[in-house]
Amino acid sequence: MSNLPFDPLLLSIAAPLAVALAIALGLPKRWSVRLAYAGFGVPALLALYAWWSYGAQPQAHGYALLSSYSTGLDGLGIHLTLGLNGISLPLFVLAGLVGLAAGLYAIQSGAERLKIYLMLLLIMQAGLMGVFASVDVFFFYFFHELALIPTFIMVGIWGGRDRSYAAMKLTIYLTLGAMLSLVGLIALYVKSGANSFDLIALREVIANRPLAETVQHNIFGLLMFGFGILVSLWPFHTWAPLGYGAAPSSAAMLHAGVLKKFGLYGLIQIALPLLPAGVAHWAQVLALLAAVGNVLIVGLITMAQRDLKQVIGYSSVMHMGYAFLGVACFSVLGAGGVVLLMVAHGLSVALLFLLATSIHHRTHTFDLTQMGGLAQKTPVLAAFFVAGTFASIGLPGFANFWGELTIFVALWKFSHVFTVIAVAGVVISAIYGLRAAARVFFGPPTEAFSIVAAAHPPADLSWKEKFPALILLAALLFIGFWPQSLSTPLNATLSAVYAPPAAIAK
């Protein structure tokens, strides 16, 4: 337990939920907004506290801040068990920071029906904190769904073009993914014989009595495709660009930045250590889908996009390919790289979605062929966007660099061919990233944009927009220059959790 007088993890889930409930019960708008600052701020502060004090916290079963509550399902082995280990800590921090940025951006957006919008974002935020704080596999899934439902609603109500269709497609794809992973998790629960959803208990039981090979193959297959759909594994990725294109900016930031990482996190935290033979069986398939599908094919598709949001949406699908490749390596190095990349990508894609909306406010379009020369009028926005693009490409100095580099090193041991493809992907992402930045900000303004700019002279980023962007950029740079702050606990946990099964797989 912590030396705080309360459980910080429970509070990080309860605070946004409580604010959401207060808004639902009819709080006036002025107070709703004020409380919303607390609803987004408290989890972020608690996440930073957890990060800062992680090394000093006493550990139990490899988890810091471990605590358990009963919800009446003890007979099934379901408890609300919260705790952080080296794998979940970085993502918990990510959820806190991106949540704060998305919340601040939503508050200043002045969206229609702002109260309900904030309420849904707060519910989503509670779910996100819960996903990464849960040690119990059931609640891990439960919180994911809690965060997912508001996404559908927000896309449907506040979405842009094709919102109704996008919301429907998103719902069906993600439900399919969620159901497959749920069946996989139930299979794990029943087949392990642990009669508990607690990950600690599952690990102990399976370490003593590993599952039969075919069972592992089947369960890993279920989890791989179930989680894969949720993370937009090619060819099940088509919901992502469509959904992000239609989603309001804060929802896209939270979903693309944080919630999507649920699947990868599930693979690394649950599937890899518990199902080593399953990974060995499926690794080649997964790597092939990720390298050829996500990195190459989607990368080339991204180059062909003419819409700024589509570029960011497809690029996020593409970067998930690297993450899948890291999972397929099945090594401490590969998994560590994936966790770093998840954090880095979450921060950078949230930053880019935020800036894309700010650009839209100034250009009144997402069409790249109708912009140009915005940098002269809004130099700060341009600087942020270029920085975000550099981060997304993986330039040194940004967190993404460490994630990608680690994955490539791990991948070289796994397969030379896939490494070559992955590195080629970096070139592709440099091309579309820089080209998008150039088309928006540099060169002479296009005719269409001159007309818009004359009618609405674009102002530079206001502080209300700058502040959330600064949070994200600062985190990217901080991790970029001091990756040990995350990699030390990560390495400790991964080495402990992965050591025995990796030996079995070989």
């Binding site: 919800t71 009446g72 399902l73 003890d74 007979g75 099934l76 899934y141 439960f142 769904e145 809690l146 439902i149 559908f152 609603i153 449907g156 109500i157 919102r163 109704s164 919301a167 429907m168 719902t171 069906i172 439900t175 399919l176 159901m179 497959l180 749920l182 069946v183 139930i186 299979a187 629960y189 029943v190």
Partner: protein, 506 residues
């Protein structure tokens, strides 16, 4: 005539054991008497009297669930068997009756009809359902089942000025009579076979489930007995609307008055499942026969219900066909119950979750419906969220729970069923169920989408402009009840408490 034997039988009659049913019947009779005695201006209070009667009985029955107050064992010479499950179902049917009466006050107000008889029949049917849930004898089963069915013949065609209601009544009558005769034929076959003195373990009182079960276990492969079992199961399958006996569902659900549709969907279905669970236990020696039949039936019911619901525009037909798919999920639980004891608890939990969510949805439907009760289209819900945010919220929570979206009660119900099915090893059924869930998302979501994402645009031509009925204002008591139903749905999803304890520790 030997009166002493009658005397011996009568000595076993414990009228105190069935006082709730007797009391309910007395309230029902008093309603009719009061209508004659009281002057017409007081008739408006009669529904309140009926409701009060039901509500007054509920606390005693909830108390009856506590250890020490729980009634156990056989009464009435083995006609009735009292158990914890039976007591729970008593509460279930009483709650159902109260909610049906409440909905009746909304829906009947829109019709020029005698009102009192409606409540009278609802109460009588409820009393019969409560007895049916505790029956331990084919005579008891058949008599109470017929009471329920005949009551429903009247209720379904209660709006006698509506052609669709009359048509529904006729269809229900024909199909109901057919199924009753099939059931009766099966019962007679079983009775005849079990009374055959040539067979081992023959018995004179084969109508009693315990005796019959004993006989069947000594003759596990008798041809006539298996025919009888199949016929009995077919008769019950009609009540729950399971494939291939579901053909009446959409027409009858559409034509019946909305409260009756709710009563059919919840009460009639629940009663069918309670019988089915009892019968499957009684026929346990014939599991080689019943299990494959029920397995096939479950899969076909799930798929049929979901696929057929996809194309519906009328919400009553949609809810009817979605009810068929829920019957499929419950059948999964029944199949699993043959080998996994926890599945019983799962079925009961599912029924309760279904009760709460269904009445939330039906409550909203009763308010949106106009004078033409059969004409309730999905398009009528367009813009509901703007006009009546409260009703829209209740609708969304109810539908979300029916769709099985976490963190609502319906999800927990599905989860328990999935776990039970997985433990019993029916992986194929699980796959069908997952497909079913994903399909069902589509039509539930279409409905929610209409309420939240679309705005009502009056048709251009003046003739159809009035096709959308005006919304009924929500009275305070109904508002509280609907709010409670929605709150319970959310609460049961988060915290199962003693209910969870009870169903998982069996």
């Amino acid at each position: 005539m030997d009166l002493s034997s009658l005397q011996a039988i009568a000595a076993n009659n414990d009228w105190g054991a069935i006082f709730p049913e007797v009391l309910l019947a007395c309230v029902a009779l008093a309603l009719l008497a009061l209508e004659i005695v009281l002057p017409a201006k007081y008739h408006a209070y009669l529904p309140g009297f009926a409701l009060f009667g039901v509500l007054a009985i509920i606390p005693s029955q909830v108390l009856g669930l506590r250890p020490g107050f729980l009634l156990e064992g056989d009464t009435f010479s083995g006609l009735l068997h009292h158990s914890h499950e039976g007591q729970i179902m008593r509460v279930f049917f009483l709650v159902t009756a109260a909610l049906v009466c409440l909905l009746g006050t909304v829906s009947l107000a829109k019709q020029k009809m005698p009102h009192t008889e409606f409540y009278h029949i609802v109460l009588v049917v409820t009393a019969a359902m409560m007895l049916l849930a505790q029956s331990n004898h084919f005579v008891m089963l058949f008599v109470t089942l017929e009471t329920v069915t005949i009551g429903f013949y009247i209720l379904v065609s209660y709006f006698r000025t509506s052609a669709l209601s009359l048509e529904a009544g006729l269809k229900y009558l024909v199909m109901g009579a057919l199924s009753s005769s099939i059931l009766l034929f099966g019962i007679v076959l079983l009775y005849g076979v079990a009374g055959n003195p040539m067979l081992p373990g023959h018995t004179g009182s084969a109508m009693n489930f315990d005796e019959l079960s004993g006989f069947l276990s000594m003759n596990p492969h008798h041809f006539l007995a298996s025919v009888g079992i199949v016929l009995v199961l077919s008769g019950v399958a009609f009540k729950i609307g399971a494939f291939p006996f579901q053909i009446w569902v959409p027409d009858v659900y559409q034509g019946a008055p909305t409260p009756v549709t709710a009563f059919l969907a919840v009460g009639s279905k629940a009663v069918g499942f309670v019988i089915l669970l009892t019968l499957v236990r009684t026929f346990s020696a014939y599991a080689w026969l019943t299990l494959p039949i029920l397995t096939l039936m479950a899969a076909a019911t799930l798929l049929f219900g979901n696929f057929a619901a996809l194309t519906q525009h009328n919400v009553k037909r949609l809810i009817g066909l979605s009810g068929v798919s829920h019957a499929g999920f419950l059948l999964l639980g029944v199949v699993a119950a043959a080998t996994v004891p926890m599945a019983f608890g799962a079925v009961y939990f599912y029924l309760f979750a279904y009760l709460i969510a269904s009445f939330a949805v039906f409550g909203v439907m009763a308010h949106v419906a106009g004078p033409n009760d059969a004409d309730q289209e999905i398009s009528h819900y367009a813009g509901l969220a703007k006009e009546r945010p409260f009703l829209a919220l209740v609708l969304a929570i109810g539908l979300g729970s029916l769709a099985g979206i976490p963190p609502l009660a319906g999800f927990m119900g599905k989860l328990f069923i999935f776990i039970a099915v997985f433990q019993s090893g029916h992986y194929g059924l699980l796959a069908v169920a997952v497909v079913g869930v994903v399909i069902s998302i589509y039509y539930y979501f279409t409905w929610i989408r209409a309420a939240f994402f679309e705005t009502w645009t009056p048709p251009a031509d003046a003739e159809t402009a009035s096709s959308r009925p005006a919304l009924t204002p929500v009275t305070a008591s109904l508002g509280v009840v609907l709010g409670l139903l929605a709150a319970c749905t959310v609460l049961l999803g988060f915290y199962q408490g003693p209910l969870g304890d009870w169903l998982t520790t069996r």
